[in-house]
């Protein structure tokens, strides 16, 4: 049979061919609709004057009950999901007394696309494509985590040149992501100009990566066992003239905010995340290093060629929003240093390991983690021998970074929600998966 072995049908189809068909229940005539559920109070019967975001069903857990009981002089207010300052579709229900925040309940799920379910029904090449839109601001790192996990599953050895290209493009994207972070932090505090400067800077880097990978945002560039395409002249020339003025440009852009008294007074001492709470929350990345724990996967659990590169992990002790901002500024400098080293000792050789077209890894489990701009991106793959992963678990750092918001916000003012949430830099694509 010369035809390529058939792409295995879905699990349900195979079950059906083996005759274990499930009895097809007749579709129930009446659908359970939540409107006709007697227990749910709907707007039309509640009357238009009550616009409280109190959920119309009985409270389900102790925390929800404690949050949605309103004291005297307290008011509920929704920040999001359609709100200028949320990074994507995040809804924060704030309980305010006057301008003081009493309590916060983040509501997620507005951007939930069921990526893990889709990945369980697509083969190993599609999975890399599915994980791109998760942390869309820096999608190469999500691919990197997935590819690390698959390579451990299939015991694939990646050629050194591919590792160098991965580190080079990854660090470039880290610089672009941090530049965007600074722009959004300034935008949330009211500055109109920094966001434009960061977009100009980011656009330059993204055009460069488009020359290398072919895409500006969802790259789909890493493969299991290497990368999609080798370096080309257009990428190297653009990288060359960007490197010549990279350091000076990022300094000038950051300088607009670093010493600005208004920005410093609004960010210093706001949303202090000390070392113990950060560890308890499992926060990773810049927010943890701002609390004094030098935990960076590139050093703590070295992968790829990071052990050979020399760069230091910027750490601060205050743990407030300003520290988190300054950590990102230092990390941009470190990344530029890493890119420089990558360019200097870039080995030559193949960029892709030899792999069969149809990947059927051995049944087993593998956990791969890499250091994204917002923290540790982890992927836990379970394979059952077929060419579709049996379970594809994605761990996103912003999920835990955002979880610290209900502990950081109470006690601050309404204006500080923007500072704290922006300094934690959540990306809702990765949180809602």
């Amino acid at each position: 049979m010369p035809a390529r072995p058939t792409r295995p049908t879905t699990r349900a189809a195979r079950a059906e061919t083996r005759g274990e068909t499930r009895p097809q229940e007749p579709r129930p005539p009446e659908q359970h609709r939540s409107e006709d559920d007697p227990r749910i109070m709907l707007d039309r019967d509640v009357g238009a004057d009550l616009y409280e975001p109190i959920p119309p069903y009985p409270t389900r857990t102790e925390r929800e009950g404690e949050f949605y009981t309103r004291g005297d002089g307290e008011m509920f207010i929704n920040i999001g999901p359609h709100h200028p300052a949320t990074h994507g579709v995040l809804r924060l229900v704030l309980k305010l007394s006057g301008e003081q925040i009493v309590d916060v309940d983040p509501v997620l799920g507005y951007l939930h696309r069921g990526v893990e379910k889709i990945c369980e029904n697509s083969d190993y090449y599609h999975v890399i494509d599915q994980v791109d839109p998760l942390e869309y601001v820096s999608s190469l790192f999500q691919e990197w985590a997935a590819v690390l996990s698959f390579e451990k599953l299939m015991d694939v050895e990646v050629p050194r040149r591919a590792e160098y290209i991965r580190v080079l493009s990854g660090e470039l994207l880290r610089v672009a992501s941090h530049t965007l972070y600074m722009g959004f932090l300034a935008l949330d505090l009211g500055g109109l100009t920094p966001i434009l400067y960061s977009f100009i800077e980011r656009d330059e880097i993204v055009e460069m990566l488009a020359a290398l990978t072919g895409a500006r945002m969802l790259f789909n560039y890493f493969r299991i066992g290497g990368v999609n395409g080798d370096l080309n002249h257009e990428f190297m020339s653009r990288l060359g003239d960007w490197m010549s003025r990279a350091a000076r440009q990022t300094e000038a852009n950051a300088g607009l905010l670093n010493e600005n008294e208004i920005f410093v007074r609004r960010a210093r001492g706001v949303g202090v995340l000390d070392r113990a709470t950060a560890l308890r929350f499992g926060v990773t990345g810049g927010n943890l290093r701002a609390a004094g724990v030098p935990f960076d996967i590139r050093r703590a659990h070295p992968y790829s060629i990071y052990p050979e590169l020399d760069f230091n992990v910027p750490t601060r002790l205050e743990g407030d929003s300003l520290a988190r901002y300054l950590i990102r500024v230092d990390e941009v400098r470190e990344s530029i240093k890493i890119i420089d080293q990558c360019l200097h000792n870039m080995p030559d050789g193949p960029v892709m390991a030899k792999l069969p077209r149809l990947l059927r890894p051995r049944p087993g489990r593998a956990w791969g983690a890499c250091e994204g701009p917002r923290g540790m991106l982890g992927v836990y793959t379970i394979s059952d021998g077929s060419d579709q992963p049996f379970r594809f678990r994605i761990h996103d750092p912003s999920f835990l970074n955002l979880e610290t918001v209900p502990t950081l916000l109470p006690g601050n003012l309404l204006a500080d929600t923007m500072t704290i949430v922006a300094s934690l830099d959540p990306v809702l694509g990765g949180i809602d998966k």
Binding site: T10, T21, N121, S122, A211, A215
Partner: protein, 271 residues
């Protein structure tokens, strides 16, 4: 940071004033186009070779591999006889549901087509039932469908692809790979039995004679609308040199009359 309270703000203001006079980053789009990278994959475009004809033979591999199934393609086969189509579910209704359902792990519902020349799919359904919908034995399924309909209708291929869940490209690939499977309606098939008893009775010579008459040879492709094939099994109880026309045994065909009979057959049948 600094001691003088207003210094940081002043430095920021100075920077924006400098940038006020700096060259701008905006590209006036319609007038000046940005230079897009050579390797930019944002454009899905068909490539032409230097002679101007298309570097694509509708093998559907790209449409099959596309994770979001956004490639919509269709084309005539090399002999220009029929038009096949593979489209994204949204524009061509026949696959709207099962691309989502297949991704969510549900069985693929069967769906008849209308715009491919309606055929009744009962026969295909029975064949698939017999082969328990396993795309593994695709070739026997296709042969039985060809036997049942005389040729392989596109709607049948689409139906097989749906029911077994195999991708359309695979079914189409198998169907076009084998010469004895043909997408074209054949008017007549002449089958000559070549079992030992018939060979002894001279069916070899009859086959050659019919071959010259029709202009094809045994097992070759259909010529002039009539195909000459070998009868797989000798139907019990039939006369020894067994020749069947569309499955019906022809008693009068003997070595002498074979050439004339076949020429008359070729003349009558549809060109």
């Amino acid at each position: 940071m600094s001691f003088i309270p207003g210094l940081g703000i002043a430095k920021g203001m100075a920077l924006t004033l400098r940038r006020f006079f700096a060259p701008k980053a905006t590209i006036q789009y319609p007038e000046t186009k940005p230079d897009i990278a050579v390797r930019f994959r944002g454009r899905l475009q068909l490539l032409y070779d230097e002679f101007g004809n298309l570097k694509c033979e509708t093998c559907f591999q790209c449409a099959q591999a596309c994770p979001v199934e956004c490639i919509d393609m269709g084309g005539h086969d090399t002999k220009g006889r029929f038009y096949t189509h593979w489209g994204p579910a949204e524009t061509y209704g026949e696959r709207r549901e099962e691309s989502a359902l297949r991704r969510s792990g549900r069985p693929v519902p069967d769906q008849a087509f209308t715009h491919f020349g309606p055929i009744d799919l009962v026969a295909v359904e029975e064949i698939l039932e017999a082969r328990d919908y396993d795309p593994g034995n695709m070739l026997p399924i296709l042969e039985e469908v060809q036997a049942a309909y005389g040729y392989l209708p596109i709607a049948a291929i689409k139906h097989i692809s749906h029911v077994t869940g195999a991708s359309y490209a695979l079914v189409y690939g198998t169907a076009t790979y084998y010469s004895h499977l043909s997408f074209e309606r054949q008017a007549r098939t002449v089958a000559v039995c070549r079992c030992t008893s018939c060979l002894l009775a001279g069916s070899g010579r009859i086959a050659n004679a019919i071959g010259e008459g029709l202009g094809t040879k045994l097992g070759g492709g259909p010529a002039g609308g009539v195909a000459l094939e070998q009868l797989p099994t000798h139907t019990p109880g039939a006369a020894s040199p067994l020749v069947t026309l569309d499955g019906k045994p022809q008693a009068d065909v003997t070595e002498t009359s074979a050439a004339a009979w076949s020429r008359s057959l070729a003349g009558k049948s549809v060109a």
